[in-house]
């Protein structure tokens, strides 16, 4: 008795975040498996642009809660609004992107709705209407397969698992009146500051070029940045490079840094300590460039290049530039 899939649409800077399109793709697959119609939930104030973008996606309806109380994100306010949308839409499956906001809201809303919730899924499916998922656990060392046992079921899906949905749909907008009580909102976002100059955060990046201690200095990271610019990639680093002071901790990939899941991870001059591997081992394709042919990173890589990174990387940048120019 599936009765619909709701995708929580994430809005940043007035527009729909691209990751929401990926979740719509996942929702469409569930819908094709008998999950019911797909709709998007949008919450906020002054969000017309996002509503327009959402309506163009291949979904049936776009449910909107507009409230000046919700201009800034608040976990409690959004939870109340989302509950109202779930009730009105009759959806039994609610999908989020596994982002900071998606995780913040999904955990709270699942508790509020007494729903099943799976965080950070890499695969989702339906089994007789029940959400059946796979997600990495123990820092990505193993995968657990789980199934919902409640009528209402939530999941957050890792960015970059699904292709973004496109299409020129024309979904109907349904305005939902949610009586959001200002007094019940005890906390809200006051300020958002960007740190990485408009670049995608590592955790969302589709392509990452990472450097290790073999880069020898922070200045030398420029050759990685050049490659990253060509590939539309973000630049990361190993702990060794961060500890050596070449680059800030915000660029660190690994156990004590960011856990990333790009479709392409290029490890340059990174030996592949276990602490680093746990942060990037779920990358779809891994390239290792290292002068030490015994570096453990090669055991985890799909493609390996043994040689001097200072020679290879600029060549690679040039090759990629040419390839992409011809596409």
């Amino acid at each position: 008795m599936a009765n619909g899939i709701l995708v929580f649409g994430e809005i940043r800077g007035g527009g729909l975040k691209s990751v929401t399109r990926e979740i719509v793709t996942a929702a469409a697959e569930l819908s094709a498996a008998g999950g019911g119609p797909v709709a998007i939930a949008l919450i906020g104030d002054g969000i017309d642009a996002a509503v327009t973008e959402a309506c163009a996606l291949p979904v049936e309806k776009v449910y909107v809660v507009r409230d000046t109380q919700l201009a800034a994100y608040s976990t409690q306010g959004y939870t109340a609004a989302l509950k109202a949308i779930i009730a009105q839409s009759g959806a039994n499956t609610v999908l989020f992107a596994a982002t900071a906001m998606g995780k913040d809201l999904s955990a709270r809303a699942a508790a509020a709705c007494d729903a099943a919730l799976f965080t950070d899924c890499t695969e989702i499916a339906l089994n007789n209407g029940a959400l059946h998922i796979k997600r990495p656990v123990y820092s990505g060392k193993v995968i657990v397969e789980m199934e919902a046992t409640a009528p209402l079921q939530f999941a957050s899906i890792r960015p970059n698992v699904n292709a973004p949905a496109a299409g020129a749909g024309s979904a109907a907008v349904v305005e939902v009146a949610a009586a959001v009580d200002a007094g019940a909102i005890q906390g809200r976002v006051k300020e958002v500051t960007a740190t990485s100059g408009g670049k995608k955060d590592l955790t969302e990046a589709e392509v990452i070029v990472s450097g290790g201690r073999s880069l020898k200095s922070g200045d030398n990271f420029k050759i990685l940045q050049d490659l990253a610019d060509v590939l539309g990639a973000s630049v990361g680093a190993s702990r060794a490079a961060v500890d050596a002071g070449y680059v800030p901790h915000s660029m660190q990939v690994g156990q004590t840094g960011k856990v990333v899941n790009p479709k392409l991870y290029i490890a340059v001059g990174i030996s592949g300590a276990i602490q680093h591997l746990v942060g990037m081992r779920t990358s779809k394709v891994i390239v290792a460039i290292n002068k030490d042919e015994n570096a453990p990173i090669f055991q985890k890589a799909d493609y390996g290049v043994v040689g001097d990174l200072f020679e290879i990387v600029p060549h690679l940048t040039e090759e990629c530039k040419q390839l992409l120019a011809h596409s």
Binding site: T99, R108, F118, G140, V189, D201, V305, E319, L324
Partner: protein, 263 residues
């Protein structure tokens, strides 16, 4: 004020994780269990707030789990927590984060805690769900993945990590906060602290002590079930690219485009 620090016992990050014989979980053989690294920030932050406030603030470490979590509670006491509560009952076994949150919320509720601290995620199930669920059940605001925390009277300002930047959340006390690396540098337990911790009694809480029924907790109270655990799929062996630097770069770019289809 009472500050609750929720702590969890998890496999050490260096542990090799193997799946058990019937794929129902991990094989605990040879695994060293330690305090969840993110929970260390929570205990440390609680102690620092107490040290700053210099009033009657106390830090209470709470852990839900089997007997081995006592070690983690002792560690919290040795670091400087004032009290510890071990929440354990056969009925709690197999609980999902929401079922566990129901239990912990009822343990915390009568304490009247002003601040609930915990790690940003347990590095075992990596769910990041329990503490926001507790916040919802207790009807208090939350700030997750926090790297800076300021408490001023009844107000909290928390800076948290989001994609590509930071977000500053303002909320009122009581509140629930999950801690991220960078919030502080957790102290090591001291020998005098350990000797003092040894003498402290760890209070036990079971289902009978809580206003909950058996069907609200543990596996019975869960909204999801584990189906099975899987090892990571084996990667095909690495394809090494030979030649001089220019040839290697050209071949790599071609493979990434034509074979892997990632650029």
């Amino acid at each position: 004020m009472k500050i609750v620090a929720l702590v969890k016992s998890v496999p050490d990050t260096e542990s090799k994780i193997k799946i058990n014989a019937d794929s129902s979980g991990i094989d605990p053989q040879g695994i060293k269990f330690v305090m969840n690294p993110y929970d260390e920030y929570a205990v440390e932050e609680g102690i620092r707030i107490r040290e700053r406030l210099k009033d009657d603030t106390t830090v209470i470490a709470i852990s839900l789990g089997p007997d081995r979590v006592v070690d983690v509670l002792r560690t919290a006491l040795a670091m400087g927590a004032d009290d510890a509560i071990h929440v354990n009952d056969p009925a709690f076994e197999g609980g999902d984060p929401l079922a566990n949150a129901r239990v912990l919320a009822e343990v915390i509720r009568p304490l009247g805690a002003g601040l609930i601290l915990g790690g940003r995620q347990g590095i075992d199930d990596d769910a990041s769900q329990t503490i926001p669920a507790i916040a919802e059940l207790l009807g208090i605001p939350q700030a997750l993945i926090v790297t800076e925390l300021t408490i001023d009277g009844g107000n909290v300002t928390a800076r948290r990590r989001i994609e590509g930047g930071d977000e500053v959340i303002e909320c009122t006390l009581p509140a629930a906060v999950t801690c991220e690396k960078g919030l502080n540098e957790p102290r090591y337990a001291s020998l005098p602290g350990i000797m003092k911790a040894k003498k402290k009694e760890i209070r036990k809480v079971t289902l009978a002590d809580l206003p909950l029924e058996a069907n609200q907790v543990g596996a019975a109270g869960s909204r999801s079930k584990m189906v099975r655990y899987h090892a990571l799929p084996e990667r095909p062996p690495v394809k090494m690219i030979a030649g001089d630097a220019a040839q290697q770069a050209k071949e790599l770019a071609r493979l990434l485009r034509e074979e892997a289809k990632v650029i």
